[in-house]
Subunit: 362 residues, 4 copies
Amino acid sequence: MAKFKSVGVLTGGGDCPGLNAVIRSVARACFSHGIRVWGVRNGFGGLVENDIVELADKDISGILPRGGTILGTTNRDNPFSYAVPHEGGYVYKDMSQQALTNLRTRGIEALVVIGGDGSLRIANEFDQLGLPVVSVPKTIDNDIPRTERTFGFDTAVACASEALDRLHTTAESHHRVMLLEVMGRYAGWIAFYSGMAGGADVILIPEVPYKIEAVVAAIKARRAQGKLFSLVVVAEGAYPVGGEMTVARIVENSPEKVRLGGVGDKLAHELEELTGFESRCTVLGHLQRGGSPTAYDRILSTRYGVAAVDALVAGKTGTMVALQKNSIVTVPIRDIAGQPSNVPLEALHVGRAIGVCFGDEV
Amino acid sequence: MAKFKSVGVLTGGGDCPGLNAVIRSVARACFSHGIRVWGVRNGFGGLVENDIVELADKDISGILPRGGTILGTTNRDNPFSYAVPHEGGYVYKDMSQQALTNLRTRGIEALVVIGGDGSLRIANEFDQLGLPVVSVPKTIDNDIPRTERTFGFDTAVACASEALDRLHTTAESHHRVMLLEVMGRYAGWIAFYSGMAGGADVILIPEVPYKIEAVVAAIKARRAQGKLFSLVVVAEGAYPVGGEMTVARIVENSPEKVRLGGVGDKLAHELEELTGFESRCTVLGHLQRGGSPTAYDRILSTRYGVAAVDALVAGKTGTMVALQKNSIVTVPIRDIAGQPSNVPLEALHVGRAIGVCFGDEV
Amino acid sequence: MAKFKSVGVLTGGGDCPGLNAVIRSVARACFSHGIRVWGVRNGFGGLVENDIVELADKDISGILPRGGTILGTTNRDNPFSYAVPHEGGYVYKDMSQQALTNLRTRGIEALVVIGGDGSLRIANEFDQLGLPVVSVPKTIDNDIPRTERTFGFDTAVACASEALDRLHTTAESHHRVMLLEVMGRYAGWIAFYSGMAGGADVILIPEVPYKIEAVVAAIKARRAQGKLFSLVVVAEGAYPVGGEMTVARIVENSPEKVRLGGVGDKLAHELEELTGFESRCTVLGHLQRGGSPTAYDRILSTRYGVAAVDALVAGKTGTMVALQKNSIVTVPIRDIAGQPSNVPLEALHVGRAIGVCFGDEV
Amino acid sequence: MAKFKSVGVLTGGGDCPGLNAVIRSVARACFSHGIRVWGVRNGFGGLVENDIVELADKDISGILPRGGTILGTTNRDNPFSYAVPHEGGYVYKDMSQQALTNLRTRGIEALVVIGGDGSLRIANEFDQLGLPVVSVPKTIDNDIPRTERTFGFDTAVACASEALDRLHTTAESHHRVMLLEVMGRYAGWIAFYSGMAGGADVILIPEVPYKIEAVVAAIKARRAQGKLFSLVVVAEGAYPVGGEMTVARIVENSPEKVRLGGVGDKLAHELEELTGFESRCTVLGHLQRGGSPTAYDRILSTRYGVAAVDALVAGKTGTMVALQKNSIVTVPIRDIAGQPSNVPLEALHVGRAIGVCFGDEV
């Protein structure tokens, strides 16, 4: 049994409800083992910049229900390719040894990394360098491989589902087609789950390239039955058969510059043209990233935090804690392939059975 | 005391939380007077199309908390200039006599019109033709003159305020400037109220053309104090000094075609350029129009509905019920000028006193 | 593959968020198989009283987000021992053949029973009589054996967790011990989950008889650390070591007369005496049974409804649909023993690890 | 114009949503005048105990949406009759001079007292002693005279209204009479407003002693119309004609010992006996006191805080800020008589008009 005296914790990547709940859980679980806990501020950048503070019990008191992260975060900095000012611009340098030194100076022997895809890659590199690391899978998109659920997802689904409830009344009163664009560049988890929870008639996800004529047919079939409105949920990464994942590609090359929101607006315009029915799109955007986590996410976050410390103490480092068959397990970080975890096509059965259109069948 | 045997009720214009609460209240108050109630479907169009059904107690049972309107609505049809199919297109005809005939046939002697600006104008025309009308001021924008409050406004403010709570955590964790664009083409009520409730640092409204350098200065001043994020609420009708109310003008000429959402995105881009801080905009859009009304709006809606029937019974027709100095009164419809009711500049004092920037002072 | 032409659906037992979502899902899944669907009203009583109506698409439209059940329910009537008026009182008769006749008359060949413990027993008896039955596990208490999750539970936990958030602020401001009594006569699922989600310091459940001195010690230890308040969640069936499950026993003999709410009030009084700190109890009561289901419960309910129809169509009758290892399966109804499913003691580890007191260790 | 250099602020009495919003507003408004702000901790007790800390901008950052009070509060301590330990018990002494000395030592020249009835009396006594005081009317009960609205009330109404929405579904599904007991010992504001917002069929308030036969008749009349359930809201201070305000009287003599919750449970039992319909009561209790304030209350709290500082600066001390005819004004504290402000009987018209039973007419 590995016994650490001091452990660091950091949050990387985009905002996600439950970050504070994990931090609290990691800290409390460490305290109960007599382990000191250090908070690295502003993601991996804080490792390089030596922005590391010890966390006391009072620092984590009352943070369970709060959105955001008390440690700050960023989705930019990578110590292995770190932007260093140079001649009025930047050069990218490997600052990982500096990061390790900053930890060592404080006696910090291991790191809990709470983050998504990008953070996991960096965590793996540090683990290879000999720093024991355990990761916690964080993303509202639920697309991290080898775990059934990431924390933050349930809250994002709840937010999108509540948005659909709101749009429903307007759609029904105005006999409109109302679209909701939700996050999901590579995987349609939020669209699928919120669509099912919000009673969407059409759900479009990247896993199923859509035929516009299938969507039009579904909307017209409802009209024919006397249902004068339709609700459509569209993942930002959804694209038509023969089209391309435009958003995703742009993103790959230039992560910060992508103009989200285009997919749904474009589709609303198209559907209005093709059906003759008023169509309006709302882009949920950052609303689904923030705010207080649901009860479900607070519990999952707390379980993950405890499991991460359990893994550290048990010497199971180089791992990510994960939910498999509803149990918490650990999986090697290096096994988490680059491919995002997609909605399995057989899962759509529950939607098809109640008449939801996924855009693939006319 | 005028005594009607049968009264019609209709809902016109955009969706607005509380419509059903008013319908229920009007119907119940009529029932208690022994007056029969008829629901006109889909706004003023239903008058022309003769889509009018009697409402029984069971029809209005359970609708108090529901968003939307059981009667349907539209923001297009005007009986005094009604689109009639003609040679593959449309011609606009005065169908008001047809509307009156449809009412008369059923013995409907008076009308309660629940609607906004446009509906009030039509209501006034019918009143001039001798049909007793009482109106209920409906708009989430709170910009109808001579009433302190329209129903639906409190719910819209609550929705925008909750959105700000969500954006707050992301702004703070990411050290970002987060913008929220809310409705308000001519008046900044939603922006002002939700900004105050959500702790916005900057609030931009059509009543106060903004100087971009004042906004930049406010954001930079916060940085200088160690506050690494800022929350900005911007009404869709806000515009810079020397600029013009672009959105509003386009709207005037072509109400259905306006592309909303531009103001906030453009401003986010500008602020990122000028401050160097990451800036992101979320457009709240239709979310602020739908959903279950707040307790406040349910009560106000119920009060308005009862007051409308009281006015009918008292023979105070040709009026709009209104809230003045926190009491319900009636005002002549014809006195409700075309100018929207704006946020009075002295009301901004409460914001200035706690350091909110309205964009006019550097 | 069994092919039914007509299927009945009924809801039995107490109110539970998600009932309407299951009804909608069952009906829609039947429609897509070309099966007619009949709603039995007011639980098993409707079978005997012949209160059975065919459901059309419009009957189930819009009910997904609504609490309660459009079919009505009751937790009294059992066709196998049915209260029949007799000489000013009642005699209990077996009316099951009458029930079967009422179904047969309409050509209803199978039944979907959405209910808890009591309803499952009756469902099993009908299945033994040759009526194909599939059950859906319904209870906010999550204590039905052989399924990881019943629908309604997530909503109850969310409601209790939100209540704890509210009590938290008062506890903290007033330096009080605030208790929340939640449902759970035999099993502590709601208490455990909501306590973890709401940041409770002490969680008392029937699975772990508590020592009052352990609770007192936990509260005093917090004071000693400068934490002047404590949050306690107590299941209504919690009881002290050496005590007895008073509530549960009374309930067994006289299900309708039990006076809930006693456990928490008594404990608050006791803690105030023993700690000297102001202590107040709130009994959540019926609030945790009603209202709109969470997104999670809407999805689970929909999955269960589709699975029930899949089971019918596949001829897997005499079963209950269940969630095992996060997959939907079917289990024979007769295997669902009378014993409620309890919180496994090892699950408490996550709480102990972050310092929650379960009343068993001083 | 009086110019203060240092101002104290304290929160007294029970918890109330919006306390933090007022503190933030007072502090920010002072900062903008260059006035230093000191927080007195735990109500008036902190004045005597010298528990007074200066507030910096960071102390009030982020507190706007949070329930409770960062300053702590108590509904016990009165400096003019202060419990001082003496021979194993307590003697009550006038410690007001000590309180004034503690303020003077820090150069604190004026006090903002955020509190209810009891706090206002103490505030008035300090004002008489020459300490400039401005009060902010705080109570969820809305029963402070000479102001239309206290902050916290809208949030309490929203909480009770949401509880009614939850009970509604259960009442309807089970054909039950569901009762909700809400706060209001002397005045029925919460019961009246939440009852109107939640669609209650019967509303019982202290202002209108009820006849049980009127309530029974209302419930039976609904049955006769085919409405098989009823929703009843009862204020804790409601009492039958010829009865007495039991709760209120007990409270007067022994404020801390009163056992709330009795009124509704007793009434449920009585209604079940008299109507033969299942009746259940839920006591909302402390839930209506805590949690995040509504947007409405955040704005009102902010306005009150700014107005209090405006009054200080303008030399209008010895006053309470108040809302009259929807404008903020100041009224002399000494004019706030001991009698609570009641719901005016004419306000019930809106309820009667839609068929709500107030228990006074059969």
